[in-house]
């Protein structure tokens, strides 16, 4: 079910509260399709915290922010338009805080993500079912939150379009793996000041946002009743600049992030197959991002809109 990976996505809201683009992208990373006229509705809570961050490539702590915690509640829907075409929509409410210093956290509704996932081709092989899938989607901010308040912004305000290719394999013995690659176009953003310093002094309220890319892997056991998988993702900003020594982060920093994690779910038959899922994720490498530990819990439920 698609929302199991909504998790990995949401965790990426962490770090500097950045990478909302990947969140949307990743909710659509799942290899599995809803059948026609089936709806999957989900609600998720995510918690992500770091007390070390990469200032450029230097891993450090900062006594004036302590531990930065980003939390979110996300609502999502995934609907089977046909057996081969699914539509996903989701939006989170995000709030941030720093444990030390005086800087105020931010809160608000972040970005709306919409996506379509299409099963391009599926065939039998390697003792299981292989499929190649394509995902297309985009995101746009739902509110006028402040992007230029890092590391406590709830998002980056950029509008995105993303395209993804997925290779998915499910064996008859329920072993599964998935590999995907994503390219995300990001629109420039406007901030509240008329000039800012990157590697130059720029006189504009417009900030050039480099595009982003992601590689994603997951693999493990998946059955209808339960599943457990390992995940790994590498997110890259294709450009941008490093935070200078003792400077503040900025929306167009060169933000990279590598995470590994574990996901698991169980469907309770006595609750109408209500699915409970959870995920834990650790950042292992990064640049201009927090080295965060994140976890998510979620509940999802199928609703059948077929007449029979």
């Amino acid at each position: 079910m698609n929302f199991r990976t909504t998790l990995s996505l949401l965790l990426l809201l962490g770090g500097f509260g950045l990478f909302p683009v990947f969140s949307g992208a990743q909710s659509l990373t799942d290899g599995i399709f809803m059948n026609k006229k089936f709806l999957c509705a989900g609600v998720f809570y995510g918690h992500d915290a770091w007390d070390e961050y990469w200032e450029g490539t230097l891993l450090r702590t900062n006594g004036n922010i302590g531990t930065v915690t980003t939390q979110n509640v996300l609502l999502g829907l995934n609907y089977g338009i046909t057996d081969r075409l699914n539509a996903v929509v989701m939006a989170p409410y995000v709030w941030t805080e720093a444990s030390a210093g005086t800087l105020a956290g931010q809160s608000g509704i972040q970005d709306l993500t919409l996506g379509l996932k299409y099963n391009v081709v599926a065939f039998n092989g390697l003792g299981g079912r292989m499929s190649v899938q394509a995902v297309a989607g985009g995101s746009l901010p739902l509110t006028d939150y402040v992007a230029d308040h890092l590391p406590l912004s709830i998002g980056l305000q950029s509008k995105t379009l993303f395209g993804r290719g997925i290779l998915h394999y499910a064996a008859e013995n329920n072993l599964t793996f998935l590999l995907s690659g994503t390219y995300t176009l990001r629109s420039n953003i406007e901030i509240d000041r008329e000039s800012y310093y990157t590697t130059e002094q720029i006189y504009s309220n417009e900030v050039e946002m480099p595009d982003a890319a992601q590689l994603y892997f997951r693999g493990g056991y998946y059955s209808f009743r339960w599943g457990a998988e390992l995940t790994a993702s590498h997110n890259m900003t294709l450009g941008g600049f490093d935070i200078r020594r003792q400077d503040m982060p900025f929306p167009s920093n060169n933000m990279d992030l590598t995470r590994v994690g574990v996901e698991a779910f169980y469907r309770f038959s006595f609750l109408g197959d209500l699915q409970l899922l959870g995920q834990v994720n650790q950042t292992v490498a990064g640049r201009n991002m927090g080295k965060s530990l994140g976890w998510t819990l979620g509940l999802t439920k199928f609703i059948n809109f077929n007449k029979d």
Binding site: T102, L116, S195, I202, R244
Partner: protein, 516 residues
């Protein structure tokens, strides 16, 4: 199935259209037209200088006659340069022809933003101190915080102004015309022809002043500054608008005048401005002995307050012996109900859910990694000076008036801060969260308010049709600190008043300096 392929195709098309959009954000420098002043201020050689006693304090030798072989050879060399202009030279000429004073002001703001980063703490919780004699090793010298940068803008502007007054004096004295007024066949590249004598060349005068002053203020950027000096000094010679001796005389004059201004800088008290833990402790003990809660650093690890002794730096526009006349009135006791009311107001006003307040806070923050509040007011001055098409010498005069006022504003404000040692709102009530970085120095009075009122007062005098706008901006800049949760309203109001007084000193000077 076909439908789906179509929608995928449609998405692909959309994707490529989106990606083809030109995302590049430029704006490293303003796109400006070539300078063509309506008024050349030919009498500026008689204007009142700041550091120089007389405009001819530095001698400039008499130039060769326009009919001499020596001069004709120089003209020929300039014509040759003009005929062989490279694309790079053309770009340099288009950049500088907007006016040297404007461009150096822009460059100054870049240097300040580049260096406006506090040193990161050492592993043992101490802080390294930037060292002017070892500027390249971390932390790079300087830490261009607001007082440092206010002073830097002031010295750079004053050096340019005094050098240009001297330059104008010698221009009038020797009255050697531009080469295109000697040889009518010369059509300069992208430089507007004027009747202003070119010996010594104004752009070279300013470049010479910048050479001496900026290398002292930003020693880690010597190579960059040298490159800019070379471009600024010589572009008019390449463009057919000056000859080599105009340039060299200008450079020499600018450097020599700036050396005199630099002597003032070396003895203005800045080298002691950083203060010490012992001095800060004694200031804290003084107010605690009066039964007050003293300001303390909320930074972690604990950091010495920013420029504890900057209030003792020598001002331009008032006698430091009269500092008490400039010093804002004492704030209410930290133990009083009046103070408590101020604190409660901060708690109400600092509201991260109020988007308009957040905009105001961020618009005026000018914090870490920026050109600072004095830089922001230089941007406003830059726009007005450009729009008015002022001569180089008038532009320099107006920047000097503005920046002397803002440096003095910094002195008066810092003197008050460390005299009264008023704690920040978050120290008195840790539940107060700030919408911008909490500055590491006492609250009373607000630096933004003092800078802004001084800036608005000077600019309002120089550009009276916009005086109301400048005052409104100063008010908003001031309130941004209350909204940000880092200042009480009393800090803002007292800062505005003090800034107006100091701005008034600059206005008094402006009225009597011979330029009005």
């Amino acid at each position: 199935m076909k439908k789906h392929i179509l929608s995928l195709l449609a998405f692909s098309v959309l994707f490529f259209i989106f990606s083809a959009c030109d995302k590049e954000v430029t704006g490293e420098y303003a796109e400006l037209q070539p300078l063509s002043p309506a008024n050349q201020d030919l009498n500026a050689g008689a204007w009142k200088t700041v550091v120089l006693a007389t405009p001819d304090e530095v001698a400039v030798p008499a130039p060769s006659d326009v009919n001499s072989a020596e001069y004709q050879a120089e003209v020929a060399a300039s014509k040759q340069a003009l005929a062989g202009l490279t694309d790079e030279q053309k770009e340099i000429i288009r950049y500088w022809s907007a006016g040297s004073v404007l461009r150096w002001n822009e460059i100054m703001r870049y240097l300040v933003a580049k260096h406006n980063l506090a040193p990161a703490p050492n592993a043992d919780g101490t802080y390294p101190v930037p060292d002017a004699s070892n500027p390249f090793s971390y932390p790079e010298f300087p830490f261009a915080n607001p007082p440092y940068s206010a002073r830097a803008y002031a010295y750079a502007s004053v050096a340019q102004f005094d050098a240009l007054v001297a330059g104008w004096h010698f221009k009038s004295l020797y009255n050697r015309p531009a080469p295109y007024n000697v040889d009518a066949t010369i059509e300069p590249y992208h430089v507007v022809k004027t009747s202003l004598p070119t010996y010594p060349l104004e752009d070279a005068v300013v470049a010479g002043a910048a050479f001496t002053m900026l290398r002292a203020l930003f020693p880690a950027d010597t190579a960059f500054i040298n490159e800019k000096v070379n471009e600024a000094a010589w572009y008019k010679q390449w463009a057919g608008a000056a000859v080599a001796s105009d340039v060299t005389a200008g450079l020499n004059l600018g450097k020599s005048v700036a050396a005199k201004v630099l002597n003032r800088a070396k003895s203005d008290g800045m080298k002691n401005a950083i203060g010490s833990k012992a001095i800060q402790d004694s200031l804290q003990q003084r107010v605690e002995a009066l039964g007050e809660t003293s300001w303390k650093s909320l930074e972690s690890p604990n950091r010495l307050g920013m420029l504890v002794q900057f209030g003792k730096v020598k001002p331009w526009l008032f006698d430091p012996a009269n500092i008490e006349a400039v010093r804002p009135a004492a704030p209410p006791s930290t133990q009083s109900d009046a103070f408590k009311a101020q604190l409660e107001e901060v708690k109400r006003e600092a509201d991260p859910s109020d988007r308009e307040k957040m905009r105001i806070v961020h618009f005026w923050a000018d914090g870490t990694g920026t050109y600072t509040p004095p830089g922001h007011w230089n941007v406003f001055a830059f726009e007005e000076i450009y729009n008015a098409g002022q001569s180089e010498v008038r532009a320099a005069r107006n920047f000097a008036l503005l920046n002397m006022a803002m440096m003095d504003a910094a002195i008066a404000c810092w003197e008050a801060k460390y005299h009264y040692m008023v704690p920040r709102p978050s120290q008195m009530d840790p539940s107060i969260k700030t919408l911008t970085g909490l500055p590491n120095f006492p609250a009373y009075t607000s630096g933004h308010s003092t800078f802004s009122a001084a800036g608005a007062t000077v600019l309002g005098h120089l550009f009276p049709s916009k005086a109301a706008t400048f005052n409104a901006w100063a008010e908003e800049a001031s309130l941004s600190r209350l909204y940000g949760g880092i200042h009480y309203r009393m800090d803002c109001e007292a800062g505005l008043l003090c800034g107006q007084v100091i701005g008034g000193f600059a206005v008094d000077r402006a009225r009597t300096d011979g330029a009005e």
